[in-house]
Structures are given as C-alpha cells and as structure tokens.
Symmetry: C2
Subunit: 313 residues, 2 copies
C-alpha cells in the first residue's frame, strides 16, 4: 500500500478535495468551484490542476500515490461509465479513464456520491468496524448507500441504495421528484418533514411553538420536539414511524450490522435516532430487531473519505 | 479447480444430494431421509456415509473433490455457525467444521437453503449469466436470496434475503408466522394466494370457476385465471400488484439484473410472471423499470446446484 491518496467529492457547486494517508488520516482538505460551463468539460482538468499543485506544495510524488477516488452526483455503472450526470452536464463519460489519463496514469476509481459517503462512514465514521452498513442520508432528499462485505452495492443500473425512492405510502396524492408517488423521500427528507409540519399546521391544531417560527423546517420541528412540544412530537413520531418501518424492510433484504444516519436533518442528533429506533425495533423481524442505528460522524467529509476507501479495495 | 463437487440440500424430511462436475453438470442425484432423532445428531454422519458410498461406487477419489456444499433450512452466520435450526433440531452448530472432520478434511461450506437456491439459479438456472440476482421463492411461505457480485448476501444476522417478511400492508389484522402483521408472505405465498381467494369467495361474488373446486389453492386460482375467469383475475391482479410493488422496492435497495421467481407457485409459469411484471414496471424507479423477471428453471435441484457453487467461490 502506498502512502497517500486523494479523495475528490464533486458536487454541483464545489469539489471537496482531501489529501489522505491511506491509513485513513485526512491531512488537508480544500475546495474548488465546479466549473459547469460547456457541459462540465473542464471539471476534471480543473481538479487535476489543483491536485498537481497540492502534490507540488506538499511534496507528494506520483509514486507515493495509491490512487484517486472520485465521487459524483449521479449513477456510476460497474464498468465505470457515468451514463448521465445532470448536475455536472456529463453524459456517457468514462470518468476514471479520462481522469487517469490527466493524472499521468495514477489509478482512479469513481463512485456515486451517496455510495462513497456510505463507504466513508463505514471506514472511518459511524459505521467504523463494520463491513455491512446501510447509510441513510437525510438532506433535501433522502439518499442512501448499501455496503455489503465492505463493498458498495451500486446496482446493475446504478440504483443500488436509492432508498429514498422506496415507496412507503401507495395512497400518496402528491408526486415525488422522481415522478412516482409515496416515496420515503417525501416524508423523511428535510423538505418532507417540513411538508408533514405544514399539513399539521393548517386548520385547527393545538397551540405549538411552530406557530411562531414562520415557515416550518426540519430544524424548527426538531427544536420544538426537544422542548416537548406536542404538535412537533406528533410530526417527529410520524417521520420516525415511516423511516423506522422502511429501515425494517431494508433489514429484511440486506440485514446490515448498522444503519448510519447522516445528512443535514441528522444534526437533530440522538433524539432523532432514538425516535427512529423505537419504531424500527417494533417493526423489524426479530432476528434483526437489535441492529444498531448510529449517527454519521464525518459530516460533509464522508464522501472524500469514501473516495479514498474506494481506491484501497 | 478439481473435477467434482457434492451439493447437499438438507430439508426437514429428506436430504437431496447431487454429484456434480465443477463445470456445472449434475452427474447423479439421490435422496436420503433426514434423521431428526436426538436433535438431529446423526444427520451429518448419515450424509457422510452416503457420500462415501457414492464416491466408492462412482470411483471418485477424495483428491478429485473440490469440496462439499451444504444447504440447510435456517440461518447460517458469516462465520459458518448455525445459531438455530428448528427443523433439524440444531443449535449453535459449526456445520462446516463438523462435516469437514467427518469427510477427512474435504472442504465444506454451509449456507441457508433459500440463499443457496438463489446461487444455484444464478449459476445454472433462470439467472444464468448474471452476477446480481434476487431470487423469490413462492412456496408455502415466501423465501428469497440476494446475490450481489456473485455472492450471497447472508446478512449480519442471517436475515439477508428474508423478503417474505417485508411488510407490505401495515393495516393487516391477521398475524404472519413470524408474529408480525402484513408481511409479503401473507399475500404472495401459496397459502397467501389461497387466503386472498377465500376472502373473495365469502359472501356475494360473481360466478366463478372457483365455486366448483372446493377449498381454493394457488393452483386452482391460476388455472381459473388462465381460462379468463373474472374472480380469479381479480385475485391474481391483487397478488401481482403486491408482489410487483415489493420487487420495485427491493430494486431501489439492491438493483439486481434479474428477479428469478421459483417455488411451487411459480409452476403457474409465464402468465404469473407477466402479471407481476406489469405491476413491477409501473411501480419501479425509471432506471430499474426494465429489469428482467424470469422463471426459475432448476426446480427442486436449485439448492444442490447452489451448494456446489458455494464451494467454487
């Protein structure tokens, strides 16, 4: 194993880049803007230039690099091709091959951003020490990553871990971003929780702290919940029941050692995990009922960590 | 790779045993009764005696054996321990180790019967040529097996692929065998389909072929369905919708290349697959909507095949 690796988590706005020791220590991190002009054709050259500069500044020789892992906001097929990445303007792009050529042959591997975040949390975060992890990212949407025997389950169409699109309510009337109705994401994301809150706040309802916060958000709901607010408790219980039930169904498919919950919503912390756990334990098959539910611990760096883990496989 | 392997599929009543070429050809198969007396302590010695006899008769030397794969009706942990197998009377048993000692050191691997059946269908059956397969066994209950990158996902508690216990109807009043309510198994198994039929046949209902068959079964329902019977069509559509929706949710977790449908109910054949497929395609995330749904093709031999594949890994 060589000494260093780079993790590059490409987002729609910025690329998060980290220089790591392959033992798992993050030495330095920085960001560069994601240049989406001309169908994102300069993104990889910009990153390559930034990596070269860092190698120069930090005295890292090419021969000391185990490789470069790249995460991106779209599906990555098993053969490394990115069929479509709307956020970056890419289509049918062989990211690993192109980037490897730009980097003078240093090995490059690419993965979906939610999947590499899961891998990162497994390696050095909330799932450390486990080989079988389901990561649930509660952000604007709900993302996920499935790790089995230490490896990402990317799926034959790149849809492995798309757990935000498990249908949990066939009676839903409003459409999800994916066009279908009743997806987990419609209830368990930040926007989903805000929607549950708005539904509680229209018409007659008990007096609540949420009456004074303007447009409700996942944060204001959890803040009120922590203060014992009754209406907020109702909303959180509904969220927790839907998510806990969904996790129990995922357990009947891949039966992980741990569920790791990350994303902006997870900043609500232990009270959120406790609520989800209560419903999970009630709903799960008895053999899986004790599965641990943990908070993610790497925050926005999870993707970079996972990118590095990707090249160690 | 050595020339031969044995596949041993231990059931509650009989052990199905096959002598295979490791290329995948089944040379001979036979059965012996499963001796469950004294907490099943003679099961492995009986099988060992039967294998020794066959090796003698068929002129197979120990040195020509790649190994022996064993399937059994209970969970098998990643470390090879069988924590509990009610049907055989076993508890905390290291099946591989014990059997390997009985067989003079020939390598032995053990797996759950539903999982090895999935592996068998991947290797030489309905999922041949694929590395990522979800097998659904519609029998008295609903079993399953998840194969990712050619390997069984047995799960950290041996509950990987327990897809019969995905909860599909939180409003169900009747309990499943597992003690929970609304499991897939309660609608998509042979007993589940018979139950759906009974519910349609109580009280007022349209005239139907099912009025003349006595107690309805999955077979009589599908037979009537194939003749265009209206009531049977309603039952099959309900079954197909529930199963198709469940498969679409599984696709959002592991995104297989193919779903393989086996078990006694699958003898209904292509009309069953077509009905499930219709609902699956409607319900699935667009990227997974074209995933193939195939019939299992190895029947009761799937487990033996999978046992052999287990030792080739």
């Amino acid at each position: 194993m060589k000494k260093y690796g780079f993790g590059v988590d490409i987002g729609g706005t910025t690329c998060k880049i980290g220089l790591f020791e392959t033992t798992g220590t993050l030495l330095e991190k920085w960001e560069i803007p994601t240049n989406k002009k001309d169908d994102g054709k300069n993104i990889l050259t910009d990153i390559a230039a930034s990596l070269r500069k860092k190698m120069n500044d930090a005295n890292v020789a090419e021969e000391e690099l185990e490789g470069i892992g790249v995460g991106l906001p779209g599906p990555v097929r098993a053969d490394g091709i990115v069929p479509m990445c709307v956020n970056l303007g890419w289509k049918d792009k062989d990211v690993s091959k192109e980037f490897q050529e730009l980097m003078n042959g240093v090995p490059v591997k690419a993965g979906n951003d939610a999947n590499v975040a899961a891998l990162g949390e497994m390696w050095q975060g909330g799932g450390k020490g486990c080989d079988n992890v389901v990561m649930v990212t509660l952000g604007t949407g709900v993302g996920g990553g499935i790790i089995v025997n230490g490896k990402i389950v990317s799926g034959s169409n790149g849809a492995g871990g798309e757990i935000g699109h498990i249908i949990v309510n066939p009676h839903e009337k409003t459409a999800c971003n994916c066009g279908r109705k009743g997806c987990l994401e419609q209830y368990a994301s930040a926007t989903g929780i805000a929607r549950l809150a708005r539904e509680c706040l229209v018409g007659d309802h008990d007096k609540t702290l949420l009456d004074n916060v303007g447009e409700p958000s996942a944060k204001t709901v959890f803040d009120a919940y922590k203060k014992g607010d009754g209406v907020a408790t109702g909303i959180v219980e509904k969220f927790a029941e839907i998510l806990g039930n969904a996790l129990s169904n995922i357990a009947s498919v891949v039966d992980p050692e741990v569920f790791v919950i990350g994303g902006g919503v997870s900043k609500a912390g232990k009270p959120l995990v406790d609520a989800v756990e209560t419903y999970y334990r009630k709903a799960a098959l008895s053999s899986c009922a004790d599965t641990r539910i943990a908070l993610a611990s790497l925050g926005n760096d999870a993707g970079m960590y996972g990118c590095v883990k990707l090249i160690l496989e």
